[in-house]
């Protein structure tokens, strides 16, 4: 019996109120980089290429080294139309993701 089954057996089915849906979950994107490794264009799930007009702040997050280490390089960019988005590169897989700015 796994943990979830144990919970249900002890306390009945989980209530609706116990269901969490994370906010600001990252979305997979494809990013075109220039020779300096900075994004010049990004393609989201809609497959439309959007030109990156400016790159702002860049920072890193290295966390949870004690279990599944997380290494992310974050970039705040302005895409065509003036929208501000946050991109990050998961350095352990090389994949690029997009998040809403804080």
């Amino acid at each position: 019996m796994n943990r979830e089954q144990t919970r249900n057996a002890e306390g009945g089915t989980r209530s609706k109120a116990d269901r969490l849906r994370a906010l600001n979950v990252q979305q997979r994107v494809e990013v075109e980089l220039d020779e300096n490794g900075l994004p010049v264009g990004m393609r989201d799930a809609g497959c439309k290429l959007r030109v990156v007009e400016d790159v702002g702040e860049i920072w890193r997050i290295d966390d949870e080294w004690w279990r599944a280490p997380i290494h992310r390089r974050y970039l705040e960019v302005i895409i065509e139309g003036g929208r501000r988005v946050v991109l990050f590169e998961d350095e352990s897989t090389g994949e690029w993701w997009m998040q809403k700015p804080a």
Binding site: R7, R14, A17, R19, L20, R21, A22, L23, Q99
Partner: protein
């Protein structure tokens, strides 16, 4: 959680202690009995809330500004209100009356209805039931509630403070209680309601000032005079409210006493995205969960007596802490304080994956006290919650499903943005 049906009773005894809060103060500070005393309002400290007979004799009236009151009565002794104390005293009275009847409906601070249907087999006639109620309140005063572990150790109101009225339905019993002498009871026999009500003043009805003025202008001074008018004529003048007033005046309505059963445990749980070991973060999470559990509508009117925290730890272990509050409370800080001590004293042996807060035992409180004391904004919250509930039901009806969510903090300290906040189904 299954909803248990309400307990109801047509036979109603109204137990009323006028100026309850002021009497609590006088009982605590006997020297006040000989002075003109006024309690300052808890929501507006510039105004007087309850006034002792001596102060009233000097012209001080409830609602006056403090400066007006002192101007009229320079010897006036002003007291800051202590709502938590009044709340505790009233809870003791409710507990004592709960020993007499299972159907107890608190109406406001110092006024409670006791359902008496079926008590004849226990106590005998109505007079004997009233005697049992008086005995119960006296026991509460003396702190000698038999076979009770409830905290009735002190309820030092003067015996003569109680007035009891009995009749069919809450309105008649309430009017009867207002007619009773201090420490005495008035019984309105079944069938004698109209006769009893006929002589009562118009002010016995729950009237707004405008309706009262209009009725007086029409020459209506007593409930009998109102009941003598044709019902339809009153309805045409005052609408639906007029029908209710006419029926109350004529003794045609017997609102039953509606008791409440103690609620089943209230549970709030949180599953962390990644296990949490830091104590400060666990304390923060407990705070949030206690807040959420306190906001459960089923908690309304009840104070928490026993709170329990369960944690599921990494690698399948668990942790449990339970606290019994000496003074039941609906205040988050009072509830979380003993849990934080337990967490400090014997913390979980590993990182926590899931945290559950449960309120497992409750003590009765009143709606008035929510408005008045415990969590000062509880009544306002309750009003907003009612409005939200209605709106949510409407959305659900129109869209066939609820699309409302609540944003909650999960790990607001996390460096990873997707772990900070989450949506949870919103069920007001």
């Amino acid at each position: 959680m299954t909803r248990t049906p309400h307990l109801t009773s047509d036979g109603a005894a109204c137990c009323w202690i006028p100026l309850f809060a002021l009497r609590c103060e006088t009982a605590r500070q006997p020297e006040l009995a000989a002075l003109p005393v006024a309690l300052v309002g808890s929501d507006d400290t510039r105004r007087v809330w309850q006034v002792s007979p001596l102060a009233r004799h000097a012209g001080v009236k409830p609602g006056m500004t403090v400066s007006q009151a002192i101007g009229l009565c320079p010897a006036l002794k002003l007291c800051e209100p202590d709502p938590v104390h009044y709340d505790a005293q009233f809870s003791r009275l409710l507990a004592a009356l709960g020993q007499v009847s299972p159907v107890i409906e608190p109406a406001e601070l110092g006024r409670v209805f006791v359902g008496t249907d079926g008590l004849e087999r226990l106590y005998g006639s109505v007079e004997q039931i009233i005697e049992a109620i008086k005995r119960g309140t006296r026991n509460a005063e003396r702190g000698t509630v038999e076979e009770s572990s409830l905290a009735c150790s002190a309820f030092p109101l003067p015996r003569s403070a109680f007035r009891v009225g009995w009749g069919r339905g809450k309105f008649i019993s309430w009017v009867a209680a207002t007619r009773a002498k201090l420490g005495d009871a008035v019984i309105v026999p079944v069938g004698g309601e109209a006769k009893f009500l006929a002589a009562q003043p118009l002010a016995a009805l729950p009237l707004d000032s405008d309706t009262y003025r209009r009725l007086r202008q029409l020459g209506v001074r007593t409930l009998g005079a109102l009941a003598a008018l044709p019902e339809e004529a009153v309805v045409s003048q005052f609408g639906r409210a007029g029908r209710l007033l006419w029926r109350l005046a004529a003794g045609r309505i017997a609102e039953p006493v509606v008791g409440r059963v103690a609620p089943e445990p209230i549970v709030a749980a949180l599953t962390f995205f990644s296990p949490v070991g830091e104590r400060a973060l666990l304390v923060h999470a407990i705070d949030k969960l206690v807040d959420r559990a306190l906001g459960d509508p089923r908690r309304s009117g009840w104070r928490v007596q026993v709170v329990r925290v369960r944690a599921e730890l990494e690698h399948g272990a668990s942790w449990l802490a339970e606290a019994t509050l000496k003074d039941p409370s609906a205040d988050r800080e009072r509830i979380t304080a003993p849990l934080e001590t337990l967490l400090e004293r014997s913390p979980p042996a590993g990182a926590v994956e899931r945290l559950v807060v449960e309120f497992t035992a409750f003590a009765a409180g009143t709606a008035e006290l929510q408005l008045f004391a415990r969590d000062a904004h509880a009544a306002a919250r309750a009003g907003r919650r009612r409005a939200l509930r209605t709106a949510a039901q409407e959305i659900k009806l129109r869209l066939k499903r609820s699309l409302l969510y609540h944003v909650i903090e999960v790990q607001p300290w996390s460096r990873l943005p997707e772990r900070r906040y989450a949506l949870i189904d919103y069920e007001p």
